[in-house]
């Protein structure tokens, strides 16, 4: 074990997590072409991720494309089987359970997808879309019709519009339908996979407000997967930052944004454009060089070292050797929250203005 599961647990939360992951690993085989399709490599999509989502809390999982955040979300829902590691719902392991048991669990764990155009069956009217989860679990009769109207109202849509098809709604409205569908079975946890990324800002704000209201009203817990740090700062209580399949830093949102300890988080936070010309001009950006390495062949030791400004500019060769040889654990190194960097600390003076 290179990582203590408790590391990601918030100090303030005493309640046991409603959804937790321990040492999740997911490798996707890379196959050769041809008939035999031999496995020629492994994409290390997720490598030893542990997470805790507390009841009524929003935990954001952030990172750039290809960092494994969406794969982690799907592992948490058991939509794809993990290579190793396990997921716990309400203290019970859900990995490796029987189909029937998983079907029951599915009711408590639901997902909202990114693309409101692709996530709704275009051939079904909205009332049928919302009835689908109820029918699957044999909960449509009695009272299904009333429940569908109630759901539409819950997400701020007109219950009279049940006969319309998805294409007759705008993007924001479709995303509301997706949320309504996820709520149909009265889940306790929603996994939100980039739920507002495809929406225009003026529409996005309404959906964010809706998610906040629903959490208050229904006592939901959210695992909010996003690349948009502005939205994450607004909606999440805690954040976990992923890079190349690993969590590199996690902690309460305000702490993490105010004093990011990992060089990657520092670069990420500094790169987010701010809609404020004065601040934007005054800000000092940490521009990373290079691109994310190939996940089929990740760097040894710390996976960020190939792009890390600290590694390149500040470390002595013997310090660099540590980064190359050993993967840093996700532990608190005196920053108030855990970071997976041997040299974690406030943004170094040479890099800031």
């Amino acid at each position: 074990m290179t990582l203590t599961p408790e590391a990601t647990q918030p100090a303030a939360h005493s309640a046991p997590p409603i959804l937790a992951a321990r040492e999740l690993v997911k490798h996707f085989p890379v196959r050769s072409g041809g008939i035999l399709r031999r496995t020629v490599g492994q994409i290390h999509a997720v490598c030893g991720v542990s997470l805790d989502v507390a009841p009524r809390e929003t935990l954001a999982l952030v990172g750039e494309s290809g960092c494994g955040k969406s794969t982690t979300a799907r592992l948490m829902l058991d939509l794809i089987p993990p290579t190793s590691g396990s997921v716990y719902y309400d203290g019970q392991p859900i990995t490796g359970r029987s189909r029937a048991a998983i079907r029951v669990l599915r009711q408590s764990l639901q997902i909202v997808f990114q693309d409101p155009f692709a996530s709704l069956d275009p051939r079904m009217p909205v009332s049928a879309l919302l009835a689908e989860p109820l029918r699957i679990h044999g909960r449509y009769k009695p009272g299904g019709e009333a429940r569908v109207r109630e759901l539409l109202e819950l997400v701020g849509l007109n219950p009279e519009h049940g006969a319309r098809y998805p294409h007759e709604f705008s993007g924001g409205q479709r995303q509301r339908i997706g949320i309504a569908r996820a709520l149909a079975l009265e889940p306790r946890v929603l996994v939100l996979d980039e739920p507002v990324s495809a929406l225009d800002v003026s529409i996005q704000a309404g959906v964010i407000n809706l998610l906040e209201d629903l959490q208050d009203r229904l006592g939901l817990s959210y695992l909010f997967v996003s690349h948009d740090l502005s939205v994450v700062r607004h909606i999440a209580q805690r954040v976990a930052v992923m890079y190349l399949g690993r969590i590199v830093e996690s902690g309460p949102t305000d702490d993490l944004f105010a004093a990011p300890a990992h060089p990657y988080t520092q670069a990420l936070v500094s790169a987010i454009p701010v809609p404020d010309p004065h601040r934007e001009r005054a800000r000092r950006r940490i521009v990373l060089t290079g691109d994310v390495p190939n996940p089929a062949d990740p760097p040894s030791g710390c996976r960020f070292r190939t792009r890390c400004p600290t590694f390149a500019q500040r470390l002595r060769p013997d310090e660099q050797a540590l980064c190359i040889d050993s993967a840093p654990e996700l532990v608190d190194r005196g920053d108030g929250h855990p970071a997976a960097c041997h040299f974690a600390g406030p943004s170094p003076p040479r890099l800031s203005p």
């Binding site: 829902l77 939509l79 998983i102 079907r103 599915r106 009711q107 639901q110 997902i111 997808f113 990114q114 693309d115 692709a118 996530s119 709704l120 069956d121 275009p122 051939r123 009217p125 689908e132 989860p133 699957i136 679990h137 007109n158 009279e160 519009h161 049940g162 006969a163 319309r164 098809y165 294409h167 007759e168 997706g178 569908r181 079975l185």
Partner: protein, 307 residues
């Protein structure tokens, strides 16, 4: 500050003025979309007339497809015999009625069997992927390389005197469902990557539910196209089989058989050739246009759906 904005004092218009839109019956919407398709409606009317001609015609017409000594041999179309008569003394209209009847039975049965089997086969292969897909599609490949006509010629030797129309339909179906299955598999391969299928899984939907309620309805367009092509193909295939001595044999007849018999006649006795020919074209074309209309009618994304 609030008194500065004239609009702020007014209460925001909310749910109170919501307009009640009528619950729209899905089947009715589909029917309306179909009726909008003028060519499809015309084709449907024509097709129904062809069916009526084939199945009700014999009840009203005084001649059937068999040889009758009262019929003069080889006369061009007249009032008594609108499509003329054959050298052997058969009424061509009576023949076309019977032939259309037999061909329609074969063609529609083929369309039904091949689309059902092909769609399910393709959808299952596409949805499961991996070795299941590999196995199922290799089986399809094996069928594709077996030459239909050679096999049938071999079989024909054992069935003297022909077989019934449904045996013909089964044999043709056994070969052409593979085309549908390949088309449907292709569509499903792209559909299953879409989030709404993943959404179904997340809700706990079973695979059979995903196939029947989500994949096949969304592949309806290509399935209908494959079905209409199957109709045209089946009529022609049936003719070929009859020629090889398998399937419908004289004295019974089919459209393909009639054309086959009139092979030498187009210039000398055109009435023998053109009536069955026109009916084949008519069936193939009208089915095609009806299929187009159905495809549009079943797609809710077609415009004109708002209120």
């Amino acid at each position: 500050m609030a008194d500065l904005q004239p609009g702020l004092a007014a209460p925001p218009p909310v749910a109170a003025e919501a307009i009640t839109t009528q619950q729209r019956n899905q089947a009715r919407m589909a029917a309306r979309r179909f009726l909008r398709h003028r060519l499809a409606v015309t084709s449907l009317v024509l097709f129904v007339l062809v069916v009526a001609f084939a199945f009700l015609g014999p009840l009203l017409w005084s001649y059937d497809h068999t040889v009758d000594r009262a019929i003069p041999a080889s006369t061009p179309p007249s009032m008594a015999h609108p499509f003329g008569t054959t050298t052997a003394g058969q009424d061509v209209m009576g023949q076309v009625m019977r032939g259309t009847q037999q061909s329609l039975k074969v063609a529609l049965t083929v369309a039904l069997i091949s689309t059902t089997v092909g769609s399910l086969w393709g959808a299952v292969a596409g949805l499961y992927g991996g070795w299941v897909d590999n196995l199922m599609m290799r089986f399809v490949d094996v069928i594709l390389v077996v030459p239909l006509l050679v096999l049938v010629t071999a079989m024909a030797g054992n069935v003297r005197g022909g077989t019934s129309w449904w045996a013909v339909a089964l044999v043709i179906s056994a070969f052409i469902w593979t085309g549908t299955s390949r088309v449907v598999r292709g569509v499903v391969l792209s559909l299953r990557e879409q989030e709404f299928i993943e959404a179904c899984r997340a809700m706990g939907a079973s695979n059979s539910r995903i196939v029947l309620r989500h994949l096949i309805p969304n592949a309806a367009g290509p399935i209908i196209v494959a079905g209409t092509l199957a109709v045209a193909f089946a009529i022609l295939a049936e003719a070929a089989l009859s020629f090889l001595g398998f399937g419908i044999q004289p004295p019974d007849t089919s459209l393909g058989l009639l054309i086959e018999n009139a092979r030498a006649a187009p210039f000398t006795r055109p009435w023998l050739f053109y009536p069955p020919g026109v009916f084949i074209v008519l069936i193939a074309l009208t089915i095609n246009f009806v299929g187009d209309g159905m495809r549009d009618a079943l797609d809710p994304r077609q415009t004109m759906t708002r209120r």
